[in-house]
Protein backbone atom coordinates (compact mmCIF):
# COMPACT_ATOMS: atom_id res chain seq x y z
CA UNK A 1 0.00 0.00 0.00
CA UNK A 2 1.02 3.61 -0.47
CA UNK A 3 2.74 4.95 2.65
CA UNK A 4 0.79 7.70 4.37
CA UNK A 5 2.56 10.86 5.45
CA UNK A 6 1.15 13.18 8.06
CA UNK A 7 2.60 16.05 10.02
CA UNK A 8 2.62 15.99 13.82
CA UNK A 9 -0.45 18.19 13.97
CA UNK A 10 -2.34 16.19 11.35
CA UNK A 11 -1.58 13.02 13.29
CA UNK A 12 -2.83 14.65 16.46
CA UNK A 13 -6.05 15.77 14.79
CA UNK A 14 -6.67 12.35 13.23
CA UNK A 15 -6.02 10.54 16.48
CA UNK A 16 -8.21 12.94 18.46
CA UNK A 17 -11.05 12.70 15.96
CA UNK A 18 -11.14 8.91 15.74
CA UNK A 19 -10.79 8.27 19.46
CA UNK A 20 -13.33 10.97 20.34
CA UNK A 21 -15.91 9.40 18.03
CA UNK A 22 -15.30 6.00 19.61
CA UNK A 23 -15.51 7.41 23.13
CA UNK A 24 -18.72 9.24 22.30
CA UNK A 25 -20.29 6.13 20.81
CA UNK A 26 -19.27 3.83 23.63
CA UNK A 27 -19.63 6.23 26.51
CA UNK A 28 -23.07 7.72 25.99
CA UNK A 29 -26.47 6.37 24.96
CA UNK A 30 -28.42 9.34 23.58
CA UNK A 31 -27.29 10.76 20.22
CA UNK A 32 -27.06 14.35 21.43
CA UNK A 33 -25.02 13.26 24.46
CA UNK A 34 -22.73 11.29 22.17
CA UNK A 35 -22.10 14.33 19.99
CA UNK A 36 -21.44 16.53 23.02
CA UNK A 37 -19.10 14.02 24.62
CA UNK A 38 -17.23 13.41 21.36
CA UNK A 39 -16.83 17.16 20.79
CA UNK A 40 -15.62 17.64 24.36
CA UNK A 41 -13.13 14.76 24.07
CA UNK A 42 -11.86 16.07 20.74
CA UNK A 43 -11.34 19.56 22.14
CA UNK A 44 -9.56 18.21 25.20
CA UNK A 45 -7.31 15.92 23.14
CA UNK A 46 -6.25 18.78 20.89
CA UNK A 47 -5.89 21.42 23.59
CA UNK A 48 -4.00 19.18 26.02
CA UNK A 49 -1.82 17.89 23.17
CA UNK A 50 -0.86 21.40 22.13
CA UNK A 51 -0.32 22.45 25.75
CA UNK A 52 1.96 19.48 26.38
CA UNK A 53 3.85 20.28 23.18
CA UNK A 54 4.52 23.81 24.37
CA UNK A 55 5.48 22.57 27.83
CA UNK A 56 8.10 20.29 26.27
CA UNK A 57 9.33 22.94 23.87
CA UNK A 58 12.09 24.31 26.20
CA UNK A 59 13.59 20.81 26.49
CA UNK A 60 13.84 20.40 22.73
CA UNK A 61 16.77 22.82 22.50
Amino acid sequence: MVPLHFSHFQSLLLFALIISLAFGTLGRRKPIERVKYAAWSFAMFVLVGIALGWLMYPFSK
Binding site: M1, P3, F6, H8, F15, I18
Partner: protein, 176 residues
Protein backbone atom coordinates in the same frame (compact mmCIF):
# COMPACT_ATOMS: atom_id res chain seq x y z
CA UNK B 1 -29.68 -16.51 22.01
CA UNK B 2 -29.03 -12.83 21.43
CA UNK B 3 -32.42 -11.26 21.37
CA UNK B 4 -33.41 -7.68 20.70
CA UNK B 5 -33.18 -5.34 23.62
CA UNK B 6 -36.65 -5.16 25.04
CA UNK B 7 -35.89 -2.66 27.76
CA UNK B 8 -38.44 -4.51 29.86
CA UNK B 9 -37.67 -4.56 33.58
CA UNK B 10 -39.37 -7.94 33.80
CA UNK B 11 -36.93 -9.45 31.33
CA UNK B 12 -34.44 -9.98 34.10
CA UNK B 13 -30.79 -9.10 33.85
CA UNK B 14 -29.01 -10.22 36.99
CA UNK B 15 -29.12 -9.17 40.58
CA UNK B 16 -27.27 -5.92 39.99
CA UNK B 17 -29.77 -4.74 37.43
CA UNK B 18 -32.64 -5.81 39.64
CA UNK B 19 -31.13 -3.78 42.48
CA UNK B 20 -30.92 -0.72 40.24
CA UNK B 21 -34.44 -1.28 39.01
CA UNK B 22 -35.82 -1.55 42.50
CA UNK B 23 -33.95 1.65 43.33
CA UNK B 24 -35.49 3.30 40.32
CA UNK B 25 -38.95 2.10 41.31
CA UNK B 26 -38.44 3.50 44.80
CA UNK B 27 -37.38 6.81 43.36
CA UNK B 28 -40.38 6.77 41.10
CA UNK B 29 -42.85 6.05 43.86
CA UNK B 30 -41.32 8.63 46.15
CA UNK B 31 -41.50 11.16 43.37
CA UNK B 32 -45.26 10.99 43.60
CA UNK B 33 -46.81 13.27 41.02
CA UNK B 34 -43.52 14.87 40.02
CA UNK B 35 -43.15 13.97 36.37
CA UNK B 36 -39.59 15.25 36.14
CA UNK B 37 -38.26 13.03 38.88
CA UNK B 38 -40.05 9.94 37.65
CA UNK B 39 -38.70 10.54 34.16
CA UNK B 40 -35.19 10.75 35.57
CA UNK B 41 -35.70 7.50 37.41
CA UNK B 42 -36.82 5.80 34.20
CA UNK B 43 -33.87 7.27 32.32
CA UNK B 44 -31.47 5.75 34.84
CA UNK B 45 -32.92 2.30 34.32
CA UNK B 46 -30.33 0.06 32.70
CA UNK B 47 -31.23 -1.64 29.48
CA UNK B 48 -31.26 -5.36 29.15
CA UNK B 49 -29.45 -6.21 25.97
CA UNK B 50 -29.89 -9.93 26.31
CA UNK B 51 -33.64 -10.12 26.78
CA UNK B 52 -33.10 -13.09 29.06
CA UNK B 53 -31.27 -13.98 32.23
CA UNK B 54 -27.67 -13.13 31.45
CA UNK B 55 -25.17 -15.92 31.81
CA UNK B 56 -21.47 -15.46 32.31
CA UNK B 57 -20.66 -17.92 29.53
CA UNK B 58 -22.75 -16.02 27.00
CA UNK B 59 -21.19 -12.72 28.05
CA UNK B 60 -17.70 -14.19 27.68
CA UNK B 61 -18.65 -15.49 24.23
CA UNK B 62 -19.86 -12.02 23.26
CA UNK B 63 -16.63 -10.46 24.51
CA UNK B 64 -14.51 -13.01 22.65
CA UNK B 65 -16.47 -12.40 19.46
CA UNK B 66 -15.96 -8.67 19.91
CA UNK B 67 -12.25 -9.18 20.32
CA UNK B 68 -11.88 -11.49 17.33
CA UNK B 69 -13.82 -9.21 14.98
CA UNK B 70 -14.18 -5.61 16.18
CA UNK B 71 -17.85 -4.75 16.61
CA UNK B 72 -19.11 -8.33 16.43
CA UNK B 73 -19.81 -8.47 20.16
CA UNK B 74 -22.13 -5.47 19.96
CA UNK B 75 -23.66 -6.80 16.73
CA UNK B 76 -24.60 -10.02 18.52
CA UNK B 77 -26.37 -7.85 21.09
CA UNK B 78 -28.11 -6.00 18.26
CA UNK B 79 -26.39 -2.75 19.17
CA UNK B 80 -25.86 -1.95 15.52
CA UNK B 81 -24.68 1.64 15.81
CA UNK B 82 -21.98 0.81 18.28
CA UNK B 83 -20.96 -2.28 16.34
CA UNK B 84 -20.49 -0.24 13.18
CA UNK B 85 -18.66 2.54 15.03
CA UNK B 86 -16.24 0.11 16.65
CA UNK B 87 -15.61 -1.76 13.40
CA UNK B 88 -14.92 1.45 11.50
CA UNK B 89 -12.87 3.06 14.26
CA UNK B 90 -10.60 0.08 14.87
CA UNK B 91 -10.38 -0.64 11.16
CA UNK B 92 -9.48 2.93 10.31
CA UNK B 93 -6.86 3.08 13.06
CA UNK B 94 -5.29 -0.17 11.81
CA UNK B 95 -5.34 1.14 8.23
CA UNK B 96 -3.70 4.41 9.25
CA UNK B 97 -1.19 2.71 11.53
CA UNK B 98 -0.12 0.24 8.86
CA UNK B 99 -0.14 2.97 6.21
CA UNK B 100 2.14 5.10 8.36
CA UNK B 101 4.44 2.09 8.58
CA UNK B 102 4.03 1.67 12.29
CA UNK B 103 5.60 -1.27 14.09
CA UNK B 104 3.38 -4.35 14.22
CA UNK B 105 4.91 -6.27 17.10
CA UNK B 106 5.38 -10.00 16.84
CA UNK B 107 5.00 -12.54 19.63
CA UNK B 108 8.08 -13.41 21.67
CA UNK B 109 9.48 -9.91 21.88
CA UNK B 110 12.89 -9.44 23.44
CA UNK B 111 11.98 -6.75 25.96
CA UNK B 112 8.96 -5.67 27.95
CA UNK B 113 8.18 -2.88 25.49
CA UNK B 114 7.93 -5.34 22.59
CA UNK B 115 5.82 -7.76 24.62
CA UNK B 116 3.46 -5.01 25.75
CA UNK B 117 3.32 -3.73 22.19
CA UNK B 118 2.36 -7.18 20.97
CA UNK B 119 -0.38 -7.45 23.60
CA UNK B 120 -1.78 -4.10 22.48
CA UNK B 121 -1.57 -5.02 18.79
CA UNK B 122 -3.14 -8.43 19.42
CA UNK B 123 -6.09 -6.58 20.96
CA UNK B 124 -7.27 -5.85 17.43
CA UNK B 125 -8.08 -9.54 17.01
CA UNK B 126 -8.26 -10.57 13.37
CA UNK B 127 -7.25 -7.07 12.30
CA UNK B 128 -3.77 -7.84 13.61
CA UNK B 129 -3.25 -10.09 10.59
CA UNK B 130 -4.70 -7.42 8.32
CA UNK B 131 -2.08 -4.99 9.62
CA UNK B 132 0.66 -7.58 9.07
CA UNK B 133 -0.58 -8.18 5.54
CA UNK B 134 -0.78 -4.47 4.75
CA UNK B 135 2.77 -3.75 5.84
CA UNK B 136 4.44 -5.47 2.93
CA UNK B 137 7.51 -3.25 3.12
CA UNK B 138 7.86 -3.55 6.89
CA UNK B 139 7.79 -0.90 9.56
CA UNK B 140 9.79 2.30 9.52
CA UNK B 141 10.01 4.03 12.86
CA UNK B 142 13.04 6.09 11.92
CA UNK B 143 10.59 8.92 11.20
CA UNK B 144 7.97 10.42 13.45
CA UNK B 145 5.20 9.22 11.16
CA UNK B 146 6.17 5.60 11.68
CA UNK B 147 6.25 6.13 15.42
CA UNK B 148 2.76 7.62 15.28
CA UNK B 149 1.69 4.60 13.26
CA UNK B 150 2.89 2.32 16.05
CA UNK B 151 0.73 4.27 18.51
CA UNK B 152 -2.26 4.14 16.18
CA UNK B 153 -1.99 0.36 15.96
CA UNK B 154 -1.61 -0.02 19.72
CA UNK B 155 -4.55 2.32 20.31
CA UNK B 156 -6.69 0.28 17.93
CA UNK B 157 -5.98 -2.83 19.98
CA UNK B 158 -6.62 -1.22 23.35
CA UNK B 159 -9.79 0.41 22.04
CA UNK B 160 -11.04 -2.94 20.75
CA UNK B 161 -10.34 -4.54 24.13
CA UNK B 162 -12.29 -1.72 25.77
CA UNK B 163 -15.16 -2.32 23.34
CA UNK B 164 -15.08 -6.06 24.06
CA UNK B 165 -15.27 -5.30 27.79
CA UNK B 166 -18.18 -2.95 27.10
CA UNK B 167 -19.96 -5.71 25.16
CA UNK B 168 -19.35 -8.09 28.05
CA UNK B 169 -20.86 -5.65 30.52
CA UNK B 170 -23.83 -5.01 28.24
CA UNK B 171 -24.38 -8.77 27.84
CA UNK B 172 -24.45 -9.07 31.63
CA UNK B 173 -27.07 -6.31 31.72
CA UNK B 174 -24.84 -4.03 33.75
CA UNK B 175 -24.62 -1.08 31.42
CA UNK B 176 -25.40 -0.07 27.89
Amino acid sequence: MFEENTGSPAAGAGSEQRREQSGASTAESSAGTSGVQSNEAVAREPENHGGEVPSAARAVAVALAGWLLPGLGHALLKMWGRALAIFLTVGFLVYLGAGMRGNVFEPGGEDAFARLGYMADAGTGSFYFVARAMEVSGSDVSHAVGDYGTRFLATAGVLNLLAALHAYEAARGRKA
